[in-house]
């Protein structure tokens, strides 16, 4: 018993010392309080050297954290206890956050660089007049594939090409209910925001026919598999496709004609922010043409910053696959916030689809 108490005491003392040291370190880090900025962003979604540059220019030290899904991020912000100053959710999550009163209105007078953004990306339905959010990156969902490994007639002009018997055991899908159910709906000519249960059922039945073709449903792990030519066809996000194509020149990317998802990730300031002025400074910094161009080079997604387009290679900006023209964007749809109940149905069907695979 005695030795047990001694061990316990030792552990308590060690913990105490460590937490004391940690609080000292943190205090040193956040000297002045107003001089730190907590940025919460997707993984691999910023050029790290830009953070250093921002710290040098402004004297604000940045604490950078990452997440891998809108939902995980939202749960964390909802529960409070966090002090994030800048977060980068996708459009349907921004809609939810506005509704739940989680965001601070943005002061446009502090963002002179906002004029760099192409007007197409401003004043969108999910956030009229950009009261709460500022564009960061945008992109599509499509098919990345290796043309050398599949028959010539398959070009993914149509989603139906995925069902081609020649692709037996070759198709990889991204692990997202909205993306895959949306693909099923689009292939039938329905909206990917469909609220009609019959259409959803029909999409599910069509997806189930993919059974023999689907090799796996995975997340970011698809990138190395495509790069190493271990996978042939993958339904994924445009930016991820750009990453793969940068490493493996054989690959190509297509957005099928029936339509697909068009998404926007915008910067917002949550109510829990402790440094609203710093958050504005950070946004304005990211909107700067040179910074945006450098960031695009690193991240690979499409940037909505038209001043940055001038600085980027023509090859990049005129690539119809990643910067579709406005008329081809008409085929694309933005996710609407469907509400939890319908989102649950999408998930249930997606689960049923996964379980039907052998």
């Amino acid at each position: 018993m005695k030795s047990l108490i001694q061990i316990m005491l030792a552990i308590v003392i060690a913990c105490g010392l460590l937490s004391f040291a940690a609080s000292k370190l943190e205090a040193a880090n956040s000297a002045g309080g107003k001089d730190t900025l907590v940025v919460y962003n997707w993984g691999e979604y910023i050029d790290p050297s830009l953070i250093d540059q921002f710290e040098e220019e402004t004297g604000i030290s940045v604490i950078y954290e990452t997440y891998d899904s809108n939902e995980a991020m939202l749960t964390k912000i909802r529960q409070g206890g966090s002090a994030y100053d800048v977060v980068v959710p996708s459009e349907y999550t921004i809609e939810t956050m506005i509704k739940e009163d989680l965001l601070i209105e943005i002061d446009h007078s502090k963002l002179p660089n906002l004029q760099n953004i192409d007007p197409y990306f401003l004043d969108l339905p999910f956030d009229p007049k950009n009261k709460y959010s500022i564009p960061y990156f945008w992109g599509t969902v499509g098919v990345v594939y290796n043309p050398n490994e599949i028959p010539k007639h398959i070009t993914f002009d149509s989603w139906d090409d995925l069902w081609d018997p020649a692709l037996k055991n070759k198709v990889f899908l991204v692990d997202g209910a909205r993306e895959i159910m949306g693909m099923g709906l689009n292939s039938l000519g329905y909206s990917l925001n469909s609220r009609d249960d019959n259409q959803l059922r029909e999409a599910l039945e069509k997806l189930k026919l993919l059974n023999g073709n689907v090799k796996a449903i995975i997340g970011d792990e698809i990138t190395p598999l495509m790069i190493n030519n271990e996978a042939t066809v993958a339904v994924t996000f445009s930016g991820q496709a750009a990453d793969m194509m940068f490493e493996n020149e054989e690959l190509d990317y297509a957005v099928p004609q029936e339509g697909s998802n068009l998404w926007f990730d915008n910067m917002v300031i949550p109510k829990t922010s402790k440094n609203v002025a710093g958050a504005h400074q950070f946004m304005n910094f990211m909107l700067d043409a040179e910074v945006a161009a450098q960031n695009t080079d690193y991240v690979g997604y499409a940037i909505p910053n038209k001043a940055a387009w001038e600085l980027l290679d023509d090859e990049v900006v005129n690539d119809e696959r990643f910067y579709p023209h406005e008329e081809s964007r008409n085929n694309l749809e933005v996710y609407e916030n469907l509400g939890l109940e319908l989102l649950g149905t999408y998930n249930e069907y997606f689960l049923e689809f996964k379980m039907s695979l052998e």
Binding site: I217, P224, N228, N347, L357, E358
Partner: protein, 267 residues
Amino acid sequence: MKFKSKSASVPYIIWIALFVIAPIGLVLYYSMLDLNGEFTLVNYKNFFTSAYLTMTLTSFWYALVITFFTLIIAYPTAYLLTKTRHKHLWLMLIIIPSWINLLLKTYAFIGIFGLYGPVNAVIKLLGFDPTQILFTDFSFVFVAVYIFIPFMIIPIFNALDKMNPSLIYAARDLGASPLTTFRRVIFPLTIEGVKSGVQVTFIPALSLFMITRLIAGNKVITLGTAIEQQFLVAQNWGMGSTIAVFLILIMFAIMRFTRTKKKGGRA
């Protein structure tokens, strides 16, 4: 457990109340809430009417297969270990890999099983066509068995190690064949080790979830995957908790099924 003084049991009671009873209570409470936070039993109804029932059965089946293969590999290994001269050193060598993070080992298998990985290099050397081993039932069961083997070996090894060897000699002297000795003497005496081994394998196998995606490519869906989806994607904590309740119930059933019988006399 019995304590000489009551005060010594206080920390344990607090611990159990805070970290065992309270979470289970919360799971039960959440399982009875719907999306709008209203009190209802609709989640339970959904559980029985939808795909979840099939999923429970397939999870159960995979866990059974995994436990079976783990057992038939771990038992002979543990037995041979007790016969070696430096048995504790060998045991240590088997246990050390289990200190490595599970996810890290899983990622390693993506490379090992890949089209250009070492396994396919051997297959090619033998003159066969390389095949994609990843994202199959085989790869899933293989990796899961690999992960659980050390946890199965330890209790069986301990049981075998504690066994009085003179019992085996006695069985031999009385004319039992090696098979009979094993069946009637060794196995019954180590059954407690096997039971705890099955517990530590079967129960986590039911709720495996990262491996289902990384190794099985989401073609195997376990209860663990479904709970993760409900909490993180569908944000339906009620349904997630309901699945968790059933997982807890299954665990209790397993614990009861494999419980240690308290009998007089020595083992």
